[in-house]
């Protein structure tokens, strides 16, 4: 075989290049401490590492979600426990009611306990109300303006306060039935100074709604078995800025981006909201409709998640958002812009509140705690504190009634309210226990994730991290090889006949 000059140097350069390549690749691994420095170093490993990273990111995120939910639950638990203790104190006040001298003091105690409980029930987590369901921007509970029926009353139908109290000071209204009978027949007297002076007798209207003053009304429902009876006494403590207990519907609100520039108003033909839960209705326009001034719309009764059939309405006409018997809510649209002013996705929504003072809703708040699994982390004020909850007792009504009963020396009333408070207290204790259970379940999940994370981290490290000891040995070997190549290349120049010709 002839060995030519080019062959000698060519193969030398090739092998030097290879040795340098190996050496620098190991150098890179030493510097980065990673086996994979670009996808082609290990394509399958790269894919696995990316998947592992995704899994670890998910785990970290679930961990954060769990922290959030846990913090919320922990705060809720503390607040509920405090409320439970305060209810206990209110019950004791009722139990201690032995003499009429102490009754007024106890009534005051109950009043201040009520305020304390109110502020606890309106606690916030950051900027969000803990006990308002998904309406976290709404104050869930307000000072309640509650008509309290005397325990000796014959009437056993429902009675609600209504309207909006515009007075600037607290005031006690009393309504006394002068002559018994059905709505429209019975007569009443009214006092706005706690029963010192009384007005002349007047007839209770068929609607059952009696005007007290300063915008406040009381409405009697004919849903009991016994009509209003002569001598029946109702006391209403009106607090400035307090909430009335009758069912109500807020004025419709339009979404900020609506094309529709007219007004939407509740129609006069709307009945009293008779639903048993707080609800958000949404009217969504599907398109501008066929003719001018007409639009197709759809109605949601659950805040916009599910939608009813598409219907057509024209301006100035009315839209029935809820035709259920007793719920009739009717919206009327009035134009003020161009005649074809509706556009797709224009929204109008209205919040309807069932009887009571709860301003939130019964919706859950939840976060993902795993792939496809979620954890509800809130306790709604509705379930914990209102008569739509487990004990079917309204906490604030019971406290207000207790206070009034104490003030009025109504011993039967006091005892009845103590029983109701016991029911609420038991309910709250259950929620505390449940949220404790949810927290420990979160903790277990978190621990499991920790274990999983460690495993995935181990797998990831095995895939992409260098085995340093082996690397160093290999590095030394390649270094020696490279040094040998250099030594050889110096030698090879001398291996020529020219060295021997003189």
């Amino acid at each position: 075989m002839r060995i030519t000059e080019n062959m000698r140097y060519g193969s030398l350069i090739d092998s030097l290049g290879r040795a340098q390549g190996n050496y620098s690749s190991l150098m890179e691994q030493m510097a980065s401490q990673k086996k994979i420095n670009r996808p082609s170093d290990d394509p399958v490993g790269t894919t696995r590492v990316l998947d592992f990273r995704g899994v670890r990111d998910s785990i970290a995120q679930y961990g954060r979600n769990i922290e959030n939910a846990d913090a919320w639950l922990q705060l809720s638990e503390t607040k509920l426990e405090n409320i439970g203790d305060l209810i206990g104190q209110a019950r004791e006040a009722g139990i201690n009611n032995q003499s009429s001298e102490t009754a007024q003091v106890l009534a005051q105690n109950v009043g201040s306990l009520l305020e304390e409980i109110l502020s606890l029930a309106n606690s916030k987590f950051g900027e969000r109300y803990l006990f308002a369901g998904s309406r976290t921007d709404q104050v869930p509970f307000g000072r309640i303006i509650l008509p309290v029926a005397h325990s000796a009353n014959g009437f056993d139908g429902s009675v609600y306060s209504g309207g909006t109290y515009t007075g600037t000071t607290d005031k006690t209204y009393s309504v006394r039935i002068a002559a018994g009978g059905a709505l429209g027949a019975a007569t009443y007297e009214m006092s706005d100074d706690g029963g010192t002076t009384w007005s002349a007798a007047a007839t209770v209207p068929v609607s059952g709604s009696v005007t007290l003053g300063d915008g406040l009304t009381v409405r009697f429902g004919d849903d009991g078995t016994t009509n209003l009876t002569a001598g029946d006494l109702f006391t209403v403590n009106a607090y400035a800025g307090g909430r009335t207990t009758d069912a109500r519907v807020d004025a419709p609100q339009a979404a900020a981006n609506n094309t529709f520039a007219g007004t939407a108003a509740l129609d006069v033909s709307s009945g009293t909201y008779g639903g048993d839960r707080n609800r958000t209705y949404v009217v969504k326009f599907v398109n501008g409709g066929g003719a001018v001034g007409e639009a197709d719309y759809s109605v949601s009764m659950d805040g916009g998640q599910t939608w009813g059939a598409v219907q057509t309405a024209s301006w100035g006409s009315t839209i029935t958002v809820d035709g259920t018997a007793g719920h009739e809510q009717v919206l009327r649209f009035t134009a003020s812009g161009p005649a074809d002013g509706f556009a797709e996705n224009d929204l109008v929504y209205l919040n309807a509140y069932a009887a009571g003072v709860y301003g939130g809703n019964g919706e859950d708040l939840s976060v993902a705690t795993g792939r496809g699994s979620r954890m509800v982390y809130n306790v709604t004020g509705e379930e914990a504190f209102t008569d739509r909850g487990r004990g079917a007792v309204d906490l604030f009504a019971a406290l207000e009634s207790l206070k009034t009963a104490l003030e009025q020396g109504d011993r039967e009333g006091v005892i009845a309210q103590i029983d109701r408070l016991t029911t609420v207290q038991d309910g709250i204790r259950q929620y505390v226990a449940e949220s404790g259970a949810r927290r420990s379940s979160l903790e277990i999940t978190r621990d499991n994730y920790q274990v999983l994370d460690d495993k995935v981290a181990g797998l990831m490290s095995a895939t992409e991290d260098v085995d340093l000891e082996r690397l160093i040995v290999e590095f030394k070997m390649k270094e020696t090889a490279l040094q040998a190549s250099y030594a050889m290349s110096v030698q090879i120049g001398r291996m020529s006949i020219l060295e021997y010709l003189t």
């Binding site: 958000t280 996705n345 939840s366």
Partner: protein, 459 residues
């Protein structure tokens, strides 16, 4: 008498032959490292005694030709191998460039930004009215869209660069074809005129190799010395002294098609089966295009899944969500954008499934991460991870092939060198040999001169 003169004449021929031998050796030594130089050898033959009488043994020497030592078959193989090397090296080079775009090993790439995007939705679901969470999400979405734009943009830049190289390769090819035709003419002329054309042959071999590096060719040598060059599917590129020119035509997507200059409407991309041009066109239209398509598919699936869910939610103003990302247009992921309304006001993000602040819609969007959206088998993240893995695999494969083709070429080159390369050791021996021949011939002349002097002194 004539005998002595003949001895002088023979000495003269010996001196001349030794000189030519040394000249050839000199040429070999000085060109020992010239690429493509084929070693030469002075072919010597004894001259015929001519009209001699009696027992005359008057035989001189002459250099009949300066021979070019080469192996025709290894040259043909090398020309073919040049096409393989040309294609493999451009593939490797380009894929390594692409790999740097998709290098996710240090994090900070598309994969991480996608993860962050989903995390931002999760965070928002836990606090749907939080301004910090909303701003963080808008940023994460904007960064994600920006990264998609960057990746797709860089892929397109590489495609555009490949395209420019196609144009350059065609011009280079045209130049080489013209040069081959020109050399053909000179070689045919020189050969028939008995001129030494060895250097021209070396040049033409180099040009054939260069041409084959650009496009796969076949060639045949004609009796007169010209070579005819054809594409692998038999179209003529050079015939004798005539050469055909290729050209490029801009097609509808803005990239070049390769055509014959005399029939510019017929693309011949498909007929190019090797060489740098085949590598460039294949990378541009198949491999890089495939990655672009995958990236577009990924962006498209992500956008439509997020948009569909976003549209069914509500922002804190009570508006329906509408779109979140601008739907992809014809330019694909290169122009991925979060809609301006969301970037200007993160409160336009529809985090809730109702007009209240429940955060359920954000959770539903975050769950897109775990949905099987790609071809019924993979989530978005898995699809991307396997795309990166695929690119890594392609790089490994291209590097392996490049190494293989190069080593085959090295082997062939060594075989070629064995026949045609210059060995200094060998040339030194030749030098010594010719030097001694020269000395011997000079000695002969001296001896002849001496006997002639002796003869003259007799008279």
């Amino acid at each position: 008498m004539s005998g002595i003169y003949q001895i002088l004449n023979t000495a003269k021929e010996g001196l001349r032959a030794a000189q030519v031998g040394m000249a050839v050796t000199g040429s070999n030594v000085t060109n020992a490292h010239t690429p493509g130089y084929v070693r030469q050898r002075a072919v010597m033959a004894a001259t015929s005694p001519g009209e001699t009488a009696g027992n005359d043994v008057q035989t001189g020497v002459e250099v009949t030709t300066v021979e070019r030592l080469y192996d025709r078959f290894i040259e043909i193989q090398m020309v073919e191998q040049s096409s393989q090397v040309g294609e493999a090296s451009i593939r490797k080079e380009t894929l390594e460039r692409i790999e740097t775009i998709f290098n996710e090993t240090d994090g900070g790439g598309l994969s991480e930004l996608m993860n962050r995007f989903w995390q931002a939705w999760e965070d928002l679901s836990a606090n749907p009215t939080g301004q910090v969470e909303r701003t963080a999400l808008a940023n994460a979405a904007d960064n994600l869209a920006g990264m998609f734009r960057e990746y797709a943009g860089e892929l397109h830049a590489i495609r555009a660069d490949l395209n420019t190289q196609v144009g350059a390769a065609v011009s280079e090819l045209n130049g080489a074809l013209v040069d081959i035709a020109t050399l053909n003419a000179k070689i045919v002329e020189g050969t028939s005129g008995g001129v030494n054309v060895n250097t021209l042959l070396d040049q033409r071999s180099a040009l054939l190799n260069k041409t084959a590096g650009l496009i796969d060719i076949q060639y045949v040598e004609e009796r007169g010395g010209a070579v005819n060059v054809f594409t692998s599917d038999g179209r003529a590129l050079v015939q004798g002294i005539a050469s055909w020119q290729l050209d490029v035509q801009v097609r509808s997507d803005g990239y070049y098609d390769v055509v014959y200059a005399d029939s510019p409407t017929v693309p011949v991309n498909g007929a190019i089966g090797g060489g740098k041009l085949a590598g460039l066109i294949g990378m541009r239209d198949t491999t890089a295009q495939g990655y672009v398509d995958d990236l577009d598919d990924l962006a498209g699936a992500l956008i439509s899944a997020v948009n569909a869910r976003h549209a069914s939610g509500y922002d804190p103003y009570g508006n329906t969500g509408g779109t979140f990302f601008e739907p992809l247009g014809a330019t694909g992921a290169r122009d991925m954008e979060v809609i301006a309304a969301v970037l200007n006001d993160p409160n336009r993000i529809a985090a809730s499934a109702t007009v209240n602040a429940d955060g359920d819609n954000a959770r539903s969007i975050a769950a897109v991460r775990d949905q099987i959206l790609m071809g019924g088998v993979a989530t978005l993240g898995e699809f991307y991870a396997s795309l990166v893995g695929q690119i890594g695999q392609d790089v490994t494969e291209a590097a392996r092939r490049d190494a293989h083709e190069t080593s085959v070429m090295t082997q062939m080159n060594n075989t070629w060198e064995q026949t045609s390369g210059v060995s200094i050791d060998e040339e030194m021996m030749s030098l010594i040999k010719y030097q001694m021949s020269y000395s011997a011939a000079a000695k002969l002349a001296q001896a002849a001169d001496e006997i002639l002097q002796s003869l003259l002194e007799l008279t």
